[in-house]
């Protein structure tokens, strides 16, 4: 029985070779964090759609936010002898062992989204993701241009200590610090939530006497900006008209606000990034050429039709 199996396999393989068929479909294992929020499910769906387009046999595993599920999925990929593994890590630490197993099996590992913390950098080929710092810089550059370099800004920070909050702040300040007349006059954490953004903006409105002298609001994500817009409207202010509002994410609700002109601009956090990730993986499988440690996916900024008119 076993022999017969082996035989058919060999015959089939040989016939494939004889027929001169193109190299067999590339099999890629993709271990995703989970399906929390809006962005991640859209990212998962795009990875599956793009794989179909590229003719890739994608094995998709949802770790449901659990590290042990993710490790199990990666080990399963190794056992299935996939051609490459893409990981969107649940956590930063604890990867050394399983990555070494992948390396021993000769399977290249790519990171999407977050980074991992390993001493041996050769365990992964590269990381392909958006750059929070770049998003902050883009928002800062837009605000600098729209305000012609003169603006008192209030800032709604993300959760204290979170990587996107730290990097978006740094990126934004890197640009706005070039302009002596752009100042961040108030800055507080709205915890990345609509409720938080609304609460903080309510307090800002009171402590600045109805945002007197304020020209811009920079929020580290759209949800907080949506809350800020509500707070401003409830206080009788005109967001988008009397104030420049720039944030990051470009969620569906923000699209509506931009269309209504109640927000000014939003940097898109792309979920359709399969088209950036797969070519890198496929090219590497072909030529095994060494890649930079981090391949950044370009950001995109959307603004209201006629800003500040």
């Amino acid at each position: 029985m076993k022999f017969a199996h082996w035989l058919t396999g060999t015959v089939f393989g040989a016939s494939m070779l004889l027929a001169g068929a193109p190299a067999h479909a590339v099999t890629i294992g993709f271990s995703q964090v989970g399906d929390e929020g809006d962005w991640r499910p859209a990212f998962s769906k795009d990875m599956q759609d793009e794989a179909k387009k590229e003719g890739i046999d994608l094995k998709f595993a949802d770790a449901q936010g659990k590290e042990e599920e993710q490790l199990k999925a990666v080990r399963a990929f190794i056992a299935q002898k996939v051609d490459a593994i893409i990981i969107a890590p649940v956590v930063v630490t604890g990867w050394e062992q399983v990555l070494r197993e992948a390396k021993r099996a000769g399977i290249p590992v790519f990171l999407a989204d977050r980074d991992v913390d390993v001493t041996d950098k050769s365990l992964t080929v590269t990381r392909i993701s958006a750059d929070f710092n770049l998003e902050g810089r883009l928002a800062g550059a837009w605000l600098a241009q729209a305000s012609k370099g003169q603006c008192n800004v209030v800032e709604l920070q993300g959760t204290v200590g979170a990587a996107p909050a730290i990097e978006r702040k740094k990126g934004f300040e890197a640009i706005t610090s070039q302009f002596p007349e752009i100042k961040i006059v108030k800055s507080q954490s709205g915890d990345f939530t609509t409720e938080g953004g609304k609460k903080v903006m309510e307090a800002f409105i009171k402590s600045t006497d109805n945002l007197k002298g304020i020209c811009g609001v920079f929020a580290h994500n759209d949800n907080m900006q949506l809350g800020a817009i509500q707070a401003m409207k409830e206080a009788g202010l005109n967001p988008g008209k009397d104030f420049l509002l720039v944030s990051v994410d470009y969620v569906p609700a923000m699209k509506d606000e931009l269309a209504k002109g109640e927000a000014s601009a939003s940097v898109e956090l792309r979920s359709a990034i399969g088209k950036y990730i797969y070519p890198v993986v496929l090219n590497y499988l072909k030529d095994k050429k060494e890649l930079p440690r981090w391949i950044k996916i370009p950001s995109d900024l959307h603004h209201a039709a006629a800003p500040n008119d």
């Binding site: 929390e36 954490s189 409720e195 609460k199 309510e202 307090a203 009171k206 509500q230 409830e234 609700a253």
Partner: protein
Amino acid sequence: MSTPTPGTPASPKPAAEQAQPSALKALLRHRLVWPILALVLVLIVDAIISPGFFQIRIVQGRLFGNLIDILYRGMPPAMIALGMAVVISTKGIDLSVGSIIAVTGAVMAWRIHEGDSHYVILLTALCVGLACGLWNGFLVSVLEIQPIIATLILMVSGRGIGLMINLLYGGTNPSFTSPLLQGLSTGNLGLVPTRLVVGAVMIVLVWLLVRRTAFGLFLESVGGNAKSAWLSGVSSRLILLSAYLISGLMTAVAAIILTADTHTSDPVTSGLYSELDAILAVVIGGGSLAGGRIYLDGTIIGVLVIQALTTSILTSGLPPEYNLVVKAVVVLIVLLLQSANTRAAVVSLLARRKG
């Protein structure tokens, strides 16, 4: 955190305190004096660091100012804390309130997308809260699971349930518009924000139930000594069950206000850590986690202390990295002030210096 002792201590009086006039002594021994003092202290600090903190104006036909904000933002936590006070008086605890907010909010957004009448949704939301309370109460009173574990189950699973409800209708953009619900949350009646009226009505209802019927006595007797309460003919099981029902219902009221405030269902973050603030408010108000006591007035002052603190941190311009540290330090000071042991130690230390 230090174990808070009630405001009416029976500790031995040091010499210095006995010398004080008796009216002042009686006042200092009133259980509400320390929480109120804490609130006044926070407000005084506000007046110093941000001029115009107490300014109240009329904007968009409603009262507008930091003090209004404290009441406005404090209303949902007050609802949760009152429910928590009821549960804590029975020697219980309800860790699931944040998750109840998540589930209730998700159900509201879902039913609005399905096109239910918004009056029906209001009732549905209250029923969701009651159902969650029934579940907690069933685990605690019928299955006799420890309250902290029993309510942990819903605390952990509730946000997942909320996300699953979002998936029922796609849920990638679970925002909604509802004149009725948003009116309750962000509208105003005359000059007064509607939610303050809703809050006042709920406070009166809970007060009537707890202080004008025998229910409050039953709660405290079950919390104080369940066995002797049972022996004197109080059905502990029914009392426990109704305590969790009240907590679920009050949390649902908070959930309606919070969800309609941002008119978005966000099961991952809505009401996050609200259980901790609620427990803290009860404790600042003089409640004891050992049960047997319920102070509705103290609890509300506790909520105001926490909310005044939050509002002042937001207006102070302090970097957000310090938010939690400042809050922790102030809470510690408040709890130390309340502790009769600490006060006695300070007084005797001062007396020794003088002597």
